[in-house]
Symmetry: C2
Subunit: 308 residues, 2 copies
């Protein structure tokens, strides 16, 4: 028992412009980040596990329509919503991930059920939905996922026959959480609705263990948000872990090298949130902004959108 607890969350990174942000909208984002932070932190405070805490925080973010995950998932090319999610436990390296599911209210809950109740790590598409039904997970109809702004984004993207990130400004819509519980166990989770007008069953980095999501008690827990293809090719989350384990870097050194140097060199815009086995938190991003928040029981509380 370390009695130290810590949690960090993100709601995606990208070109978040102050010029298009109203004070009301900013207050709304901050309130929702606060709610998600509370949802996870309360579990840690009560002695709950880091896995439960990241699931609770991501669930809260999935339920908020302005983030591209769960209820707020963007429209794909055929007007549906295909969502991806992953969760990983650093204590035993157990993991669950789901890709390309529709109508599942909380994809993170499905990733958790796969981790806890299947012999597999990754389930895809309709097969994953069948498993979700057997696990009695909550399903929602199209109306639940409908959002006028998302619909307009899709119509614009359809007209121009282009895939687009989740906002008209370039934003990588993903939500995620990392946490350390009283036992010193760390965990990570990520969830996303992918890209507006996405075709061909495209899968990003979020559900890829080692790329968008990774947790290992020996090193760190990571949840990424960014240009998925480049994050997959760079195996970003496990890269941070290996730089700590094999090269002896600190969490900050490893995160800075990956986000500000390695990713920048290949045009890999985005960021990540990270926690190490000591409870240190890093939230680096090489884009304009990243919706993010963190808290520990040593006096740290932070809710931010822009660099500052």
């Amino acid at each position: 028992m370390t009695n130290k607890i810590a949690l960090a969350i993100h709601g995606g990174a990208g070109t978040i412009l102050r010029s298009t942000m109203t004070p009301e909208l900013q207050a709304q984002y901050e309130m929702v980040l606060q709610q998600a932070l509370n949802a996870g932190y309360e579990i840690l405070e009560a002695g709950g596990s880091s896995v439960d805490a990241v699931e609770a925080a991501v669930t809260s973010l999935e339920d908020f329509p302005l983030f591209n995950a769960g209820k707020g998932a963007v429209f794909n090319n055929i007007g549906g919503h295909e969502m991806d999610a992953a969760i990983m436990s650093g204590k035993d390296l157990k993991a669950g991930a789901v890709c390309g599911v529709s109508h599942v209210k909380n994809p993170v809950a499905l990733a958790r059920a796969i981790m806890d109740h299947s012999e597999h790590v990754v389930l895809c598409g309709q097969g994953a939905e069948q498993f979700a039904k057997l696990q009695s997970l909550v399903f929602e109809d199209d109306a639940y996922f409908y959002n006028e702004q998302r619909y307009q984004q899709w119509q614009e993207a359809l007209k121009e026959d282009r895939v687009q990130l989740d906002h008209s400004d370039k934003k990588f819509g993903t939500v995620g959480a990392v946490a350390m519980d009283m036992n010193g166990d760390i965990a990570a989770s990520t969830s996303t609705g992918g890209m507006t007008n996405k075709k061909f069953g495209r899968m990003g980095d979020s559900p890829v263990i080692g790329a968008g999501t990774y947790a290992n008690n020996n090193t760190c827990a990571i949840s990424c948000t960014g240009h998925g293809e480049l994050f997959i090719r760079s195996v970003v989350a496990y890269d941070v872990s290996c730089l700590i384990e094999y090269k002896g870097l600190s969490l900050k050194q490893a995160c800075d090298l990956v986000v500000y140097d390695k990713l920048v060199k290949i045009g890999g815009e985005g960021g990540l949130i990270a926690i190490d086995k000591l409870g240190n938190i890093e939230m680096p991003f090489n884009s304009e902004g990243m919706y993010r928040a963190c808290r520990n029981n040593n006096g740290l509380t932070e809710i931010k959108i822009y660099k500052d």
Copy 2:
């Protein structure tokens, strides 16, 4: 130009028992390994790229009905064939992967088309098949993928309601190749038909960049075969790469640590083939056997099934 060329291939690892192997069957496996080796090696000899060489070798293995990939893919729970494949180029870290596709004759060709002709890295299911059609890839009907032995395996698995590996003996059915071309560029590719009676859209490690497949000119190119879930959780292929890059291990040291120590500790049965930037080849496995072969232009030629 190094003028050094090298190629290694595998047809899966697992409990391959001498007691169930006839001399005729063994000769057939060896002949097919030789053919696949030739298909890739001829390209390297003619000055072709390592990416072309691994694609040619894997295509040859996919076309052979006794390996669980392409034509020989096992039956899933509903009597279909869901195949996964990946390819990665070590020169520029470009990658393409496909998961859960049916009726595509050569999934490796689809992975290659995704790498070369899409802005994405991973495409899944029917969306990936749509992309394959736009790319004019060859499709085959159910009859092409039908195999009496595979059908009986599926019927047995159905009766017992269990997922099973691709042979009645425990075998991880996957094929793969790694190569170095005259320019010193390395590449890796992996292809699989998954598990007999597989349900729920399960995805293994083969198409996961960093887990079953990885290539980086600075370190090594890797193709894995084994218990996919444990290989995903261990990010096996990128782990070997990081042990070389960050810890300074040789290819052999890194492969031995991962396959004989780290994987064994978690019950991760299987193996991998690896090539490093100097053209060194390793083919370690912690199971009874692994169908494997390799060749370079320094006199090495090897075709093996068992340890010996």
